[in-house]
Structure formats: C-alpha cells, structure tokens
C-alpha cells in the first residue's frame, strides 16, 4: 500500500509541474484548418507581441478543413472558439449560414482587395493557395506535361494519377467549384471518368505529394504548398498551374472569421487584426508558399502572385452551397 501511495504522490507531483496548468490573464481560442506547422509559429509571434495566450485547435491531415469546422458546428449552442482561421474561403460561408460568424471589419484589412472581403465583415480572406498539378519529372517528359485537370481523365495516364478523398480537405472545395463552373452533368461525367481511368483516391493532398515525389504516380492534384514542400525537399516534382488556357486554376485564400458568441470577443478581434496584417501574409508566403493578396507584399523566389496566374472565376458563396448539396452523391462516388 505504501509503495502504491508513494507512486501516486510522485505522479501527482509530476502532473502538477504541467505547464498547461498555468493560465495567463488574457487568452484567445482559435480553431484552424491551416497546417499546424505553418499556423503555430504565427500564433507564437502574436503571443510575443500582444502578451495574449493563444489556445489553438488544429486539424489532422485526414480531416483537413472539416474536422474543426464540424467541431464548431457541434459546439454551436455554446461556442468555445473566438476565431476560425479557415484554410479555404468556402468554410466561412458554411459557418455564416449557421449564424456562427460575427461581423467584424478589421482595420488591418483595409488594403486587401474588396473582392476578398465580405461586405458585412463576416469573413476576410488573405494568404492564398491554388490547386495545382504536381508532376513527376522522371515519369513525364516536358512534351507530355499535363496542362489541365481534364488530363487526370486522359487514357494516356490511366492508373498513373491520384487525387485526395473529395469528402475532406481542399479537394471538396475543388470538386464543388467544378460543379459550380461546369454544371451538374459535366462535373459528374468528369468524376465518373476519373473512376474509369483508375485515378487513385488517397487520404490527403500530402499523400498525393508523397506518391508523386516517390515516382509512384505520374501526377496528381494537390495544393501549391504541397508542391513547394516537395520542391524544397528536392523531389523531382514540377508544379503546374492547370487550365491557364481555359477556365483557370482554383485560387483558395485562407480566411479569418470572428466566431459569434465566442468566450473572448475582445482578444478574438485582436487576433483577427493580427492575422490580416501584411506581416502575416509575408510570413505565410515565406514558410508556406501562400500567395499574398496584397500587391505590395514580397514573395520568395519561385512563388507566383495571384495576379500572375489565371484564376477560376467562381462565386465562393455558390461553391459553398454546391459543396453541401453534392455530399451524398460524393459519398457514393467515394464508396462510403
């Protein structure tokens, strides 16, 4: 008994040393689907500058974009988050439709182009990515380089391409954007063709990047940050912005939303103000290959600006509607 007693006292002492037991006077709770490896340093910088402790919830790769969004929805009756930093511009609409977005026009956002700000202040976009084709240069010669996402359905590449599971992550938004742009019939036909062409459906964009980088497939659909990570790691990967002669590449800014009914609205506003500064756009460009929306923010070598690429012209609000509408059909398509 004494041995057990001393064990418990020892462990209790150990637990009491837990730094998480300490709470500072001011704090802010943020839920984010932006990769932790990129977002956490931004939060640490905010903590350093403001003295406000940031308590964050991050998504995993497999549930990217939807895990924390669903948690926000599950907690809707009693919100726990002050800020939602989405990794795409569509999720804020889903939050807004449920009355969970608090209008807030941040003074930091005044120089962000108006197209990327909600008129009522319920969301503000910044630091964008694009959907790109990651191409393995060993398997694909320069002359055969795919130029359109339609090449995923080309018999030339049968069984040699991959996309992430469209029930999760940015692929959901991309598929929904295709439904918005092409219409129901054409989009469904394209996805059916992908299946006939034995396109691999993998767990995440990170997995697409891995398959391309290891020459397991010829090319796949992912995000610009995946592409730049692969290039940085020295993989034989080329990043192709698709459909530059056609509908354009899908551009996906990240988006800041103040959550309605969050426990710390004041500190929440301060965090939104910080996220929307040019400094954060610069940091996201440097560390995560996110394209700044402001023209004046410098970008590292090799990273394009939004103005340098032909972007798909889509109404994000309509994409949000389509994204919800097509889910049952998509689940069938995936086989779940």
């Amino acid at each position: 008994m004494e041995r057990l007693g001393s064990s418990i006292v020892f462990l209790a002492a150990l637990v009491s040393l837990n730094p998480s037991c300490k709470r500072t006077a001011q704090e802010v709770v943020v839920y984010t689907s932006v990769d932790q490896v990129f977002s956490e340093p931004i939060f640490k910088e905010f903590e350093r500058r403001s003295g406000i402790a940031v308590r964050a919830v991050f998504d995993t790769e497999e549930t990217k974009s939807t895990g924390v969004l669903n948690r926000l929805i599950a907690e809707a009756e009693h919100p726990q988050a002050d800020v939602f930093w989405a990794n795409d511009p569509v999720r804020p609409f889903l939050l807004g439709k449920r009355g969970l977005a608090e209008p807030y026009v941040s003074p930091s956002a005044s120089d962000i182009p108006a197209a990327f700000r909600a008129a009522d202040g319920t969301w503000t976009d910044f630091a964008a990515r694009a959907r790109v084709l990651l191409v393995n240069k060993k398997r694909v010669s320069p002359g055969e380089m795919p130029l359109s996402i339609r090449d995923l359905a080309s018999p030339r590449w049968k069984g040699q391409t991959a996309v992430a599971n469209p029930l999760f992550g940015t692929t959901t938004m991309h598929v929904a954007a295709l439904f918005t742009t092409w219409g129901e019939e054409q989009a469904r036909a394209f996805l059916t063709d992908l299946k006939s062409n034995h396109v691999r459906i993998v767990s995440s964009n990170g997995e697409v990047k891995r398959l391309v980088a290891t020459s397991e497939i010829a090319f796949g659909l992912a995000d610009t940050d995946d592409g730049f990570e692969a290039v940085k790691e020295g993989a034989p990967v080329a990043v192709v912005y698709p459909d530059q002669e056609g509908m354009g590449a899908l551009v996906m800014p990240t988006s800041a939303v103040l959550v309605k009914g969050g426990p710390h609205p004041e500190t929440g506003r301060k965090l939104v103000d910080y996220l929307l500064t040019p400094d954060v756009e610069r940091r996201m460009a440097d560390s995560a290959a996110h394209m700044p929306l402001r023209p004046g923010v410098p970008v590292p070598q090799g990273l394009k600006r939004v103005s340098d690429i032909k972007a798909m012209q889509v109404d994000y609000a309509r994409v949000a509607d389509d994204m919800e509408r097509i889910q049952p059909w998509l689940r069938q398509w995936v086989g779940l």
Binding site: M1, R3, L4, S6, S7, I8, L11, A12, L14, V15, L17, N18, P19, S20, V29, V30, Y31, D35, Q36, V37, V54, R55, A56, V57, F58, D59, T60, E61, E62, T63, T66, G67, L69, N70, R71, A74, E75, E77, H78, Q80, L94, L167, F168, T172, R200, I201, V202, S203, G206, T214, E216, D225, E229, E324, Q327, P328, R331, Q332, G335, L336
Partner: protein
Amino acid sequence: MAEAVGRALKRALLRRQQMLVLAAAGAIVLLTSAVPLARLLSEIFDAGAAALGVLSAVRPWLLLIRSVMLAAAVTACAVAIGAPLGLLIARTDLPGRRALWMLHAFPMFLPPFLLALGWFQLVGREGFLGSEVTDRLLFSQVGLVAVLSLTFSPVVTSMVALALLGMDASLEEAARVFAGPWRVGTRILLPAARPTLALAAIVVFALTISELGVPMFLRVDVFPAAVFARLGGIQYAPGEAFALVLPLMPLALGLLLLERRLVGAGSFAVAGLRGMSRAPIPLGNWRPALATASWSVAVAGALPLVALALRAARGGGFGNLPQWIGQAPWTSLGTAVIAATAIAAVGLVLGHGAARGVRGASLLDAMAVLAFVTPAPVLGVGLIAVWNRPATRALYASAAILVIGYTARYAVVGIRAVASVVLQSAVHLEEAAAAAGARFWRRLIRIILPVNLRGVAAGWLLAVVFCLRDFETAVLYYPPGGEPLPVRIFTLEANGPPPVVAALAVAHALMTALVLVAGVLLLPRRSPE
C-alpha cells in the same frame, strides 16, 4: 426527533452501502459513456428518414462485411502468432524469454497509426527496405492485416502467457511424467488456456473492427470510415453516423454473449506470474529453431520503431524536437494518470461486483464494453453534445474533458483487470469480515483493495497506457491548446517535416516505455506464498 431521523437515515445508508458505492461507480460509467451514446440516439430521431435511409443503402453493409472479414483475418493471424508464442514464453526454456516478451509486447502499448507510419518508413516505396512490391503490399488489405496482426498479436501472447503462468502446476507436472514437451504443450497447456485464448481473440476482434486510423492511412475502406465520413466530412450528420453504429450494437452484444458462453467466469482468470519460477519445459533440439522464430516475430514487431528512429536521426528530427513537442507530453501524462485513477476506482467497485455476481454490475460492464467497441468519433461527438454546456464549461474547456473521454472509453480495462484478480482471491476473507460486522465500504478499503492491490495497480497501469495511446477519441474534443501527444503527432503530420514527426513518435514510444518501467517497478510486490 431530528436526531432520531438522522440516526435512522445513517443506519439505512449503512445497510445499503454496497448499493450506494456501486451506484456511484455506475454513475461514472453512465455519465461518461451511456449518456453521450443515448444523446446521439436522439439525433437519429431528429434526423428522421435520412438517418435510417443510410441503413437502406447497400454500401455500408458491404463495408461492414469487409470489416468483419478483415477483423476475423487479423484475429486468426494474431491467435496463430500469439498462442504458441505465449506458450513458449510462459512455460519453456526459450532463451531470453522475459526480454523477448517485453520486446514483443511493447508495440501493443502504442497508437496503431504510429506503427503504420513506421511500417511506411520501412517498407514504403522510399523506405529503408522498400520497393515497388513492398509498397503495393503495404497499401492493400494484405498490408492492413499484416500491420494490425503484428500490432495486436502481443495481446494474445500476453494473455495466454499470463494464464499459463497463473495455472495450477499440478496438471502440468502430472502430464510431464508421461508425455513429451510437444504433447504437454498441445494437449494440456493450450487447452487449459482456451478460455483466455477466446477472450484474447474477442479483444483483438473488437480492437480491429473499431480501428480507423490505420485503414485510412493504408487506403482500405472499412466500416468505421463510413461512420467517420458523416462526422469528419463537410455534411456533418451525427444522426446518420449513429444510425450506422446501430449494426455494431448487436455485434458488440454478440461478442459479449460469446465471451460469457465460451469463457464464462474463467475469462477473468488470467493474472499471476507464479509459473515463471517453475521448472520450464525443455525444448531440446527444437530450441534454436523456435528461439529464432520467436525472436524474429518480436523483432519484426519492433522494426517500425527502429525505422522511425532512423528517419528522425537522419533528418535532424531529434534536434528540432524541443521546438515542436510543446506541452503535449505533460498533457498526455497528466490526463492519463488522473483518468487511470478514476478507471481503477470504478474498476475496483464494478470489477469486484462483476466477479462476485452483484446485480447490476454485469450490465454496467456490458455498457463499458459497448463504449469500447463503438467507433471513437461517435463517442467523441456524444461527449461534445453532453458536456459542452454553460454549466460544465469549466470541464469541457479544460483537460478534464480528456479525463472524461478516457474514462468513458477505457473503463472496461479497469473493470476487467480487477475482476480477473478478484475471481482468484478467496471470498471467505470478505465473508468473514462481513460476519464480523464490517460494512461494505470498510470491506472494500480494508479487505478487497489490499488483497487485490496488485491486480488493481496492474489495471491502473494498463489504463494509463491505453489513455496514453488514445488518438481517435481525443482528437474530436481536446481542449484548445491542450492536445495530448498522439494528437500533436497527427496534426503536425500535415505538411510537418517528416523527421520531426518521426522524432515525436519516438518520443511518444519512449514516454510509454518509461511509464511502463516505472509502473512495473512501483507495482506492489507479490507477497511470498
């Protein structure tokens, strides 16, 4: 007057002490697991036809059949590996059997996803031993069965070994007079361990059928993924998700009935290490071959950890660890210790009740089993629905919600561990104390706990490890800024530097190893017989 009423009330409470203590322990099980699951049941009614419509589709049923078949295959492989290995470890002169047992058992204390990550570093296309063929095999149903079989076979090995070590020596000694080692092993020892083997098979089956992370990583569609698609996908549909859980309920009940029927009270008889000191059965000429085979299995199970360590070391992952590890180890350790203490307390009361056939205890045990086999995300959503309220905000927004979640999911560990030792302890001590006028609470603290202290402590240690390895339950509701280490590993896996992710995984394995070593050292010693 008031004094008389007070005395009468006190007498009534004393008379019903056992019922009250049982009710308190039962309340913990009900509040943490039954209420969240019942809350989700109401979601089915809210969702109406859409929720039930999901069951009319063919695809979920096909996935369920596939999951059952995969779980059966993993169980068969785990038994094929674990039963002979358990016998060899417990009762033969296999060289280094204690070390072999430790090496073989260790992976079962780690999150299965982490081991899958290690296998990928090892035999993935770019892995240390990888090729196109090994990569294809890994990312297939064969790969899934192989990874999970190696992960869960130590459950069978350990349970069989413990059962054989605790077995009455006279049977074996009598057989050894007339029969050779092979005959003693196959005709006496393994049949004697059959109840435990059945229980181990049920545990492995339950662990496999509820596993989500590894099948998703290895791109094999399974039934829990269909449930998860309704909770992690864009169309948040908890009603539909819970409707999909309904077919799992008869399955869980079936497993429970099977266990009771095949195993009965003997299912709990697994504790004790008395046999390790008995004269081992000599393997003779078979010794080198069997030693090579046994050590190969143990080393194979540990290879993913070696691969992760190599990946971390080669990429400078260990050097960057301080930058990325944060407070997660503390959160993991703190919440696991507190939850395990609650689980051990609940286990002491309900495990004792289940072993002694106290009314209601078996029902609560069944509830704990159901919470264990229910897909973790479903339980997680139920916990959010129940605990995210203004009145319980202090709990929900803090590490306490992790403790609640762990208690919900792993209460069964404490209940079963305590029940196993209570069944082996003499009931006459409790009866004598009761005859001498000791009330239940006094008997519990002065007799039942000290007599079964080793079993309770072992249950506590096992619960700590189960909480440490949890990922799929906690990821849905972990408190902001307070993620446990497995969650941090998998959130950082998204575009995080692979060597750092590998280093975090190795850090998790080391933390678990330290907890196990400390726990075993601090475990109360068995008193001389």
